[in-house]
């Protein structure tokens, strides 16, 4: 069997949703895996299964449509005509030739690859405060393209059950495969950052409460600004640390001296050593940066929004791997995590500032509780959210569906 994956980025999505699970599957099941970053790759036409991610350009969407059409020869010819118009005249013959070659290759093999599309976000409902709101959202061109791609795909690979509902009208054929941490990485971090580090504050004279997240989480952090300010009032040793996006601007200026933004150095490193799609070097560096923030308490706030209902719990997995106890909003993925592992996370009802303050102060004052949370959560993750634990679901879901679809397509 030949499988091709086309990751959308070199960060978390590309890694957790395609590179890590498919590499693990290829290793255990012994199939040939290729990673591509262009639809022009001949590997796609040779593959048995192609998994796309982030189909946000017309070329990719139309390529997927042509690939899954009943008559690929005429579909690729039409696609060549349409897309050629966008290119300089000198390049048009080559483009047409390429598309014709793709169609010819498909006819020659007497079939086509099964095409899957991966998504781990509800792109139809981006929160207004997210940096991606202007790019995605219901009715916006990028979302429409994604919906077209979802309809063209043979099936969808999704990260949560909630996403299945979100995309059901676009494509009712979907499999849910959860995010997971690679076993070796998890155990290496557990060994390097044992829970005993939680027994006293990790940096002398401070208790570091931190949030790690990309530019799409302003609304989430905004929900806990008041409780965090209150905690800083109550405990002079508390410092608030942000990594990924500098969110100090959400707080009153008088608190800024007690807040750190630790992302600039790492961003510069990443800029200088931009990894290629064919390596996953960004995630190890991210894990390392997270663990070296020396957080004593990690935050996972979520604003009540339909987008957040269908998110995954991967942030809790990462924090726990780094040996940091988590206080999260009891909503969406974290409510579920709290249900599955009640003693491994502190889950606070949404918008309940007083409980946020109480929970944080309790952890600030009791290092033993921080240690106990990490121990419990790590034990739970070992059984449920390591790659070895979720791989059967990926195998049964993605490969199982691909086999079933192949028979159907052949018939």
């Amino acid at each position: 069997m030949k499988v091709v994956i086309a990751p959308g980025d070199v960060g978390g999505c590309g890694f957790y949703r395609l590179m890590a699970p498919f590499r693990a599957l290829a290793e255990s099941d012994g199939f040939e895996l290729s990673i591509v970053d262009t639809v022009a790759s001949p590997k796609i036409t040779e593959a048995d299964l192609v998994v796309f991610q982030r189909a946000h350009t017309d070329v990719v969407v139309e390529f997927m449509e042509a690939l899954t059409s009943l008559d690929p020869t005429s579909a690729f010819a039409a696609l060549a005509e349409r897309t050629a118009a966008q290119y300089p005249e000198a390049q048009r013959p080559a483009l047409k030739q390429g598309m014709a070659a793709t169609a010819k290759a498909l006819v020659a093999r007497g079939g086509r690859p099964i095409v899957a599309l991966e998504s781990d976000d509800n792109l139809k409902s981006i929160p207004p405060r997210s940096a991606f709101f202007k790019i995605f959202g219901n009715g916006r061109p990028n979302t429409q393209r994604f919906q077209r791609a979802a309809r063209a795909a043979d099936f969808l690979v999704l990260s949560t059950e909630e996403l299945r509902e979100v995309y059901e009208l676009d494509n009712p054929r979907s499999v849910v495969c959860p995010n997971a941490i690679e076993d070796k990485t998890f155990e290496a971090y557990c060994a390097r950052f044992p829970s005993s580090f939680c027994e006293s504050p990790k940096r002398i004279g401070q208790v570091r409460i931190g949030y790690v997240g990309s530019t799409s989480h302003v609304g989430d952090v905004a929900t806990i600004v008041k409780p965090l300010q209150k905690v800083m009032d109550e405990r002079p040793r508390v410092r608030v640390v942000f990594y990924g996006q500098d969110l100090r601007g959400l707080f009153k200026r008088e608190y800024w001296a007690r807040m750190d933004f630790d992302g600039a150095t790492v961003a510069k490193t990443i800029e200088n050593q931009r990894p290629s799609l064919f390596s996953d070097s960004l995630m190890p560096r991210y894990y390392e940066a997270l663990a070296n923030l020396d957080l004593d308490i990690a935050l996972a706030p979520l604003e009540r929004h339909i987008f957040n209902r269908s998110k995954s719990n991967v942030k809790v997995l990462e924090y726990t791997m780094a040996g940091v106890p988590v206080v999260a909003t009891k909503y969406g993925p974290y409510a579920q995590y709290a249900q599955e592992c009640p003693d491994g996370i502190v889950a606070v009802p949404p918008e309940d500032d007083r409980v946020w303050v109480r929970s944080l102060l309790d952890l600030v004052d009791h290092p033993q509780k921080r240690k106990a949370l990490v121990d419990t959560s790590r034990a739970f993750i070992r059984g449920n959210y390591l790659m070895s634990a979720v791989l059967p679901r990926w195998r049964a879901g993605v490969l199982g569906y691909a086999h079933a679809m192949r028979e159907k397509v052949a018939a």
Binding site: S200, R203, G205
Partner: protein, 263 residues
């Protein structure tokens, strides 16, 4: 006999201590000359054991135009900065035109025999530069971790330095003479913990092996450390608890090893 006049303009204790080994080496190099020495910090001048041909005199910046003036600013930045020279003591060697030793030499203290209490830990947390010194909550956290009930802990400082909440006043050693503090350091049972400050330089001069140095990234590490120190090096006020404890333990182990070898 020729007279060479050297004037050290540094008033800071640490800077003056670091100049001393180079002045001693210079005096030995010119053993047929008399070295007339004026140090701006007269306590340090009294503290050091000088070669016989050094004549310490009262500091007077208006005295003798022929004096060769030295100071840490000139040593570090005055065109004498060789690539392989790091510690200010080595810089002073270069400034005085001497061969630069591969390690910063230990300043030699005169003997001032006095009976001093033996603390388990001595902490010198303060510095004139707030970025290099510790803050009160950091010192309190460190004292907490070291276990004030099981260990006798002394806090070293200058007169007027900050007190700590709930700390026994008898164990503040503020404003004592340098010779007394040097003797305290030698008598310390477990570890002498200092920031990059005068006490750090004094610990080097006292020749103790159990020195844990809390250094900061605001200056190069080689400017701050000395060969016998166990060092934690981090951005100001970002010292990891586990690193700090490891360094303190390393310092304790150095003392145990040194005593075992001596026995």
């Amino acid at each position: 006999m020729s007279i060479i006049h050297i004037r050290d303009v540094d008033k800071n204790i640490g800077d003056s201590i670091m100049a001393a080994p180079a002045i001693c080496a210079f005096a030995k190099e010119f053993s047929d000359c008399s070295i007339r020495l004026q140090m701006a910090n007269e306590e340090v001048q009294r503290l050091m054991a000088w070669p016989d041909n050094v004549r310490p005199t009262t500091y007077d910046p208006t005295d003798a135009d022929d004096a060769f003036e030295i100071g840490v600013v000139a040593a570090l930045g005055g065109g004498y900065f060789f690539k392989d020279v790091g510690h200010p003591t080595q810089q002073f060697y270069a400034l005085l035109g001497l061969d630069v030793p591969c390690m910063p030499q230990q300043p030699a203290l005169d003997d001032f025999p006095v009976v001093v209490p033996a603390y388990d830990y001595l902490i010198a947390p303060w510095s004139k530069d707030p970025a290099r010194g510790m803050r009160v909550p950091e010192v309190e956290a460190l004292v907490d971790i070291l276990g004030p009930n099981q260990n006798r802990i002394g806090i070293l400082g200058a007169r007027g330095d900050e007190p700590l909440l709930g700390f026994d006043a008898d164990d503040y050693i503020y404003g004592e003479t340098l010779s007394y503090v040097a003797n305290l350091m030698r008598a310390c049972k477990k570890a002498v913990i200092t920031t990059d400050s005068a006490c750090s330089r004094l610990a080097h001069a006292a020749g103790i092996s159990n020195h844990a140095l809390i250094a900061t990234t605001i200056t190069p590490l080689q400017w701050q450390m000395h060969p016998k120190a166990s060092v934690v090096y981090a951005a100001p006020h970002q010292w990891r608890t586990r690193d700090l404890l490891a360094v303190i333990e390393a310092a304790e182990q150095e003392k145990i090893k040194a005593e075992a070898v001596a026995a």
